[in-house]
Amino acid sequence: MISCLKPVRLGLLSKAQLVRKLSNAPELFKVLSDPVKMTERGIEVDGKEFLHMETRNMCKCEACYGRFSHQRTDLPYRGAMDFPDIRVSDIGRTSENYISLKWSDDHEGVIARNKRGNFGPDPIISRVENWFDLTCRKNSAQKFWSTPDEDVTKRWDYSWVVKNQENTIEFLTHYMKYGIGLLVDIPRHLGMMEIVEEGLKIKPLRRTCFSAVDLVRFKPNPDNVGYGSGPLNLHSDLPYFNQAPHVQFFHLLENTVIGGDSYWIDTFPILKELSEKRPDLFEILKTIPMVWRYSPPGTGIYQLSRQCVVKMQGDEIWQTVDAPQSMDPDTFARTTSLRDREMWWEAYNYYRRLVDQEDRIFSRKLNGGEFVMTDNFRVFHARRSFFKTSEEQERIVSTSYMDWNIMVSRVLSTEKGDSAFLEVREH
């Protein structure tokens, strides 16, 4: 039905005019009239209904939608919301990607008929088609892993990954899917900034109280458990930030100690299991916030947050926040009722028993030149204790963070300078 429109240039005829012209060709009339029609609540386009109000907010004409900004430019105080009773008054030309409309506020414009009309032509549209849901962290696009399989443990060669845009995107989408990505054979002279900003071409790094890049190695009297040599339980980083950084980078510079293996788990299948077997406990972890704190004496640092262990976005599992070493049970006890605390500890113990199951973990003793990216909202990391048998042995890791949106931008956007304008002028 739609394809028959393609070779036919409808010119500047409105739909009403076309209908009159075709009144003697009922079959063709029927085909041409089907794609777009008025309904009580709005219009129907290709079998899908749109509200009058939302069509006015969807206008992509260059008076309403900035060609260079892709933002609304017709900005009375509330856009179309100044006219809550606004209606489509006429349906005009229909092309492959756009439909001309006229509204009761007398504005004439166009709305997108499909994703290409909304986002623009290739390469953007094919990337959006492939990865939109993944970049939006839809659980259906992610691959949860209860035990690590070949995909989870796959080692990606750094030089291959950074060779070109397509390879980098393939690696980053793998990371987004599994919550973890492992790069190997990083040239020894490269540091975190070079790998991330110049190699993978993603920036900026997210600065925290640990600076932009932190070097994690043993220190006596450590002001953070990460700088000790003891074990670190499975945890997410920086839970004491209201907005914990999303993407974590972990570059192993040297690891000649005994022990010190790293390991990871995917918390999302655990939460899924919890939501199915014990929805009551799952609800508690979603609604009662724990307190997290990091306030090492003498450092001028005082970080504190209150967050639920589990955060959802609608029905999607969104984030897990959990670092036992940074829990503040004292403040929790002082600020939360006994009943809530009882429920919370029961729920937390149940969930944590699932987290600490050995068969779930992906374990690896990382070597110098290896680099791991983890989804700090989803995959917990940990370290086994280590010790030195000689003075020259070291375990040195550099870590850094980034916002998720930077990854999204890298996967979906074109290169700077490569403009992908909407094709409204061709409508």
Partner: protein, 430 residues
């Protein structure tokens, strides 16, 4: 009395500590320091301490001995088996009680101590007093915030920059005011100071949160703007960077020059509107809390593709937590693909209702900012906007620099002691 000899290196200090403990116990028993009830008993659920029940499992997680709680990190060093405990750990014995700590022994064999007071948790000195005063404010508890439906004197108060930065206490007072009202306005910023100087050297807060707009963005008119803000038109009330999944929390706005006609800034407190909505139309508020809208910023040719999905209203428990709202970055077309018609109808009804409340001009704080004026807003709570402006002479300009920061950096400035000022727990004196 439990023995702590394994933690002490010599007899004399141990004796001194024991004597000190005796004195503290005497003070405790005489009730000179606390009006709290003495520890009474171990119960089925946990222990009774100063009239409050603490669960067995949480007491074990509260141990502040230097084996369990790093002296230099204030983090848990040695984690008791939480989920793997079988049977669950319980308090077996209550030992010495001092003004700040209580010694306990648990069923896993560990002997340690828990804090009785805020001082016991945090240590003596400034931190304790700051925590007492501002903890809930820094945690964004609604009960500590002051919602404003119309701008009052507190909201519109103008703080003198040189006074604010003249001492740490003044800075904290200003920042606490900002946290309470969601907005803080300074004037008298010296002309030679830029954003970074004001933040890192003046207010002593950081780091800046870098975004796709770099660390500091200069907002001034540009032809063919790649962002609506670089035009001259009205910018309706909005939050910034809704296209980020994690929108920056704190926004700084430094007016460097404003000699144009028009261009007034205005702000509104959405939390007051949301509270009203929760009372008048809780059904519609529920829609705004649960149905996510897509927000997008994808200017062609810039190498930027920012996209996110958020409900307009986010809660933390029962507290209003965040509002996300920027009309011109809404991707209404994508929304029609994500949600069915009925949900969308309901969402538009809810959104219009909420928007009607924030668009009430009586609720706006309006001000034409001048050069040298500086505003901090809570980008998760207070919407900001700009009226249109006109250039009527070639030398006229409106130049604003903007930047962002994490909330935690503000909380840090309010609560922490200065770097180098070590505040250890007093467990050695127990």
């Amino acid at each position: 009395m439990l023995s702590r000899l394994n933690q002490h290196s010599s007899f004399v200090p141990e004796l001194a500590r024991k004597l000190s403990g005796v004195l503290q116990m005497k003070e405790f028993n005489e009730g000179t320091q606390h009006n709290s009830k003495p520890v009474t008993s171990i119960t089925e659920k946990g222990i009774q301490l100063d009239g409050k029940t603490l669960l067995h499992v949480e007491t074990r997680n509260m141990c502040k001995c230097e084996v369990c709680f790093g002296k230099h990190s204030h983090q848990r060093n040695k984690l008791p088996p939480i989920g793997n405990a079988s049977p669950a750990v319980k308090v077996e014995e209550i030992g010495k009680v001092t003004s700040q700590y209580v010694s306990l022994k648990w069923s896993d064999g560990h002997e340690g101590l828990i804090a009785r007071t805020v001082r016991g948790e945090y240590g003596p000195g400034v931190i304790e007093s700051r925590v007492r005063k501002w903890l809930d404010l820094t945690r964004r508890k609604n009960v500590e915030q002051e919602f404003w439906s119309t701008p009052n004197e507190e909201v519109t108060k103008v703080w003198d920059y040189s006074w604010v930065v003249s001492s740490g206490d003044n800075t904290r007072e200003f920042l606490a005011h900002y946290m309470r009202f969601g907005i803080g306005l300074m004037n008298g910023v010296p002309k030679d100071l830029g954003m970074k100087d004001i933040l890192s050297e003046g207010l002593k807060i950081g780091p800046i949160r870098r975004t796709s707009y770099e660390e500091v963005d200069y907002v001034r008119f540009k032809p063919n703007p790649s962002n609506s803000a670089y035009g001259t038109d009205l910018l309706p009330l909005h939050t910034d960077l809704a296209s980020y999944f994690e929108a920056p929390h704190v926004q700084f706005f430094h007016c460097m020059e404003s000699t144009v006609e028009g261009g007034e800034s205005f702000w509104v407190d959405t939390f007051a509107a949301i509270k009203t909505m929760s009372e008048q139309r809780p059904d519609l508020l529920e829609v705004l809390k649960t149905v996510p809208m897509t927000f997008r910023y994808t200017p062609p040719g810039r190498g930027v593709f920012q996209l996110s999905q958020h409900p307009v209203v986010k809660m933390c428990g029962k507290d209003i937590w965040q509002t996300v709202d920027i009309i011109w970055s809404m991707d209404t077309a994508q929304f029609t693909r994500d949600e069915d018609l009925e949900t969308r109808e309901r969402w538009w009804e809810a959104f219009l209702y909420y928007r009607e409340l924030v668009e009430d001009q009586d609720s706006w704080f309006v001000k034409k900012l001048r050069g040298g004026e500086f505003v901090i807003t809570d980008n998760w709570r207070v919407l900001h906007a700009r009226k249109e402006f006109r250039l009527t002479a070639p030398d006229q300009e409106r130049i604003v620099s903007t930047s962002y920061m994490d909330w935690n950096s503000m909380a840090n400035r309010v609560l922490s002691s200065d770097k180098g000022e070590h505040v250890f727990l007093e467990v050695d004196q127990h």
